[in-house]
């Protein structure tokens, strides 16, 4: 294929499209919708991925929790419910026994609690009792103030570090440090605010408030609860070692015989990944279905218009052939036209989706905070992929009409009126 032929075909195609603007627009409508779906889907998925990555970075990918329950919920509920609680003694034993790790701390939790500050009540928080060294794990990183000290821990001081969302909700003006808040009727002094860790998907993490474990036991009682152990492996490369050690030691502590199943779970931040994977799958399958459907409509639309176009121009094609245009020139002219139509549709989609992305990230987000994980810009590689898809669609849509047109008999076509 020579350059001048491509240039000529392009010129002819552009001219023909410009001569039938509204028809061309209607023809590319299906492609516009299809490409818009592709881009929006990719945009949402990439938003999900980066949100997840951000959270992992903050929470720490080398952190695991030994719990009675499995976070991902993979095990049968009945089995898990019948597991014996992890007692405080077992938790402390495990912590003492671990050698190949960075930090291990016991954790006790109460879900669905509430805090009160003056006239404000905030529901749905998690109160977590732990030791001072939880402050050394990524989960205990502090934005304002400090984590509680070993002393405060020892003497069961009524001090509290509040999660980012709790802070934002009950202290909208800031100045939380030193304030007294009430949990379960007990007054606590706010000494720290935990760094924001969640995103739209793990925002429950920012609803956690930390108090010294002994204060927790004083408030809620020691017995009849299952404790967790937070273990920081000290680098992702040590995760496997740490997990093996935790599992082995815990089995001994729980008196499990060889062959017996674990009656505890080792939860890692990876568990969130599975959760997000489900969302991904939903977005993806809905998106792909819509996309395929609209591409089908898009292709049919373009094929249709191209057929109209070639029959309308039968005489013109006949003249071109009479003057020496070879088959491939006619073929390319028609395919070029359908490709430009399709690509033009993609360009409109770029503008449309960029607008949607920008408005979502700047405007919609103030009404629907859940969409905060979406970026204001469409990633460039998505635009590239969409361009390629549109070109492929254009070529396919143009193929049959182009073959038809290139096979017109010049002697008949030229007499066509």
């Amino acid at each position: 294929m020579k350059l001048f032929e491509i240039r000529e075909a392009f010129g002819q195609a552009a001219e023909s499209i410009m001569a039938n603007r509204s028809r061309s627009f209607l023809a590319s409508l299906g492609v516009i919708i299809g490409i818009t779906f592709v881009i929006l889907m990719g945009w949402v998925l990439s938003g999900l991925d980066s949100a997840m990555e951000d959270s992992f970075k903050i929470m720490g990918v080398d952190v695991m929790y030994v719990d009675k329950h499995d976070w991902a919920g993979g095990k049968s509920w009945k089995d898990v419910r019948n597991r014996p609680n992890i007692t405080l003694e077992q938790a402390n034993k495990l912590i003492k026994s671990l050698k190949d790790i960075e930090i291990a701390v016991p954790v006790a939790r109460i879900w669905g609690s509430q805090v009160k500050y003056e006239n404000t009540t905030y529901q749905g928080i998690t109160v977590q009792g732990t030791t001072y060294d939880f402050g050394l794990t990524p989960g205990g990183s502090i934005e304002y103030g400090r984590f509680f000290s070993q002393n405060e821990d020892e003497y069961a001081s009524d001090v509290i570090c509040i999660g980012w969302k709790v802070y934002q909700t009950i202290f909208p003006k800031g100045d939380a440090l030193g304030k007294q808040i009430k949990i379960n009727g007990q007054k606590f002094t706010v000494i720290g605010v935990i760094t924001q860790q969640g995103t739209t998907f793990f925002d429950f993490i920012d609803n956690i408030c930390y108090i010294p474990l002994k204060s927790f036991l004083k408030l809620y009682g020691k017995y009849n609860r299952s404790y967790s152990i937070a273990v920081k492996a000290g680098g992702i490369q040590n995760l496997d070692n740490a997990r093996a050690e935790v599992e082995g030691n815990m089995r001994i502590i729980r008196n499990l015989k060889p062959g017996q199943q674990n009656d505890f779970s080792i939860n890692e931040t990876k568990a969130f990944e599975e959760q997000v994977a489900t969302i991904r799958l939903v977005v993806w399958s809905v998106g792909i279905g819509m996309t395929l459907l609209s591409f089908l409509v898009g292709i049919i639309g373009i094929v249709n218009v191209m057929f109209v176009s070639i029959f309308e121009r039968t005489k013109e094609i006949g003249i071109r052939k009479a003057l020496g245009a070879k088959k491939r020139i006619i073929l390319m002219q028609i395919i070029m036209e359908s490709t430009i139509l399709s690509f033009f549709g993609a360009v409109i989609s770029f503008i449309l989706t960029s607008l949607i992305a920008y408005l979502t990230a700047t405007f919609v987000v103030s009404f629907v905070p859940q969409v905060s994980f979406l970026a204001p810009l469409i990633p460039f590689d998505l635009l590239l992929i969409a361009s390629i898809i549109s070109i492929v669609v254009g070529i396919f849509a143009g193929l049959i009409p182009a073959i038809r047109a290139s096979n017109f008999e010049p002697v008949i076509a030229i007499r066509y009126e």
């Binding site: 006949g318 009479a322 003057l323 020496g324 070879k326 088959k327 020139i329 002697v411 030229i414």
Partner: protein, 235 residues
């Protein structure tokens, strides 16, 4: 074989399949055309003259028989080869002009050069020269709808000449023109012939055919007469 012949056809037959029946448009036609002849093919409608022109102009292939153009067998060439012959060796002038309505005169005239792969600068230069030679030097940037019938046909003639073809076909070139304009066009063909071109004129009009130096008459797909015109117009 006569090596001086530009065209030599031998027992050319063209059959059209019209559903159940076969229609013989040409029946074993044998003839030749020399360089710089001015030939008119005459006949009533349905005589096969248009079919003959289409085959001679490489727009169509014969059902059987042989066709030599400049000693080259073109009857069995494939579509692309025929396209190249049409592009480089044949020029067409049609009754309905067959110009691109949206393109200006230069664009129309340079079209065969595009398909021949001539660079743009040279194309435009040659198109302008061709348009000047047919007296349209002042209309080069007009589009066909802005031109009169005679002017349009001049554009078509300029286009037919652009590749310096071996022969020029004119299919009822004055059919859509008034008598006076038609006469001007015929004078243009006369000048082309005088300048050494070979012209094959297809017409059913006696007055037009009389411009040619040799006349072939067809009827029902057969040559019924082939003679030298003793009293041509513009002698």
């Amino acid at each position: 074989m006569d090596n001086n012949a530009l065209i030599k056809i031998d027992k050319i037959t063209k059959v059209y399949n019209m559903g159940m029946t076969e229609v013989y448009a040409l029946r074993e036609i044998t003839m030749d055309v020399k360089r710089n002849e001015y030939l008119a093919i005459m006949g009533p409608s349905g005589s096969g003259k248009t079919t003959l022109m289409s085959i001679l102009g490489c727009l169509d292939s014969p059902t059987s028989g042989q066709y030599f153009l400049e000693n080259e067998e073109v009857g069995s060439m494939n579509d692309n080869q025929l396209a190249e012959i049409r592009n480089k060796r044949v020029g067409f002038v049609f009754q309905t002009f067959n110009l691109m309505p949206r393109a200006n005169c230069i664009k129309n005239v340079e079209l065969p050069l595009i398909y021949a792969g001539v660079p743009q600068e040279e194309r435009i230069e040659r198109a302008i020269k061709a348009l000047e030679s047919v007296g349209l030097g002042d209309r080069m940037h007009h589009k066909p709808p802005e031109l009169s019938g005679g002017q349009r046909q001049r554009v078509a003639i300029a286009r037919a000449l652009i590749n310096n073809p071996s022969l020029i076909f004119a299919d009822e070139p004055t059919g859509n023109l008034d008598t006076k304009t038609g006469e001007e066009i015929m004078h243009l063909f006369y000048e082309l012939w005088k300048n050494g071109n070979t012209i094959i004129l297809v017409t059913h009009e006696e007055d037009i055919a009389r411009h040619a130096r040799r006349i072939i008459k067809l009827r029902d797909g057969l040559i019924i007469d082939d003679y030298i015109n003793q009293n041509p117009i513009y002698a």
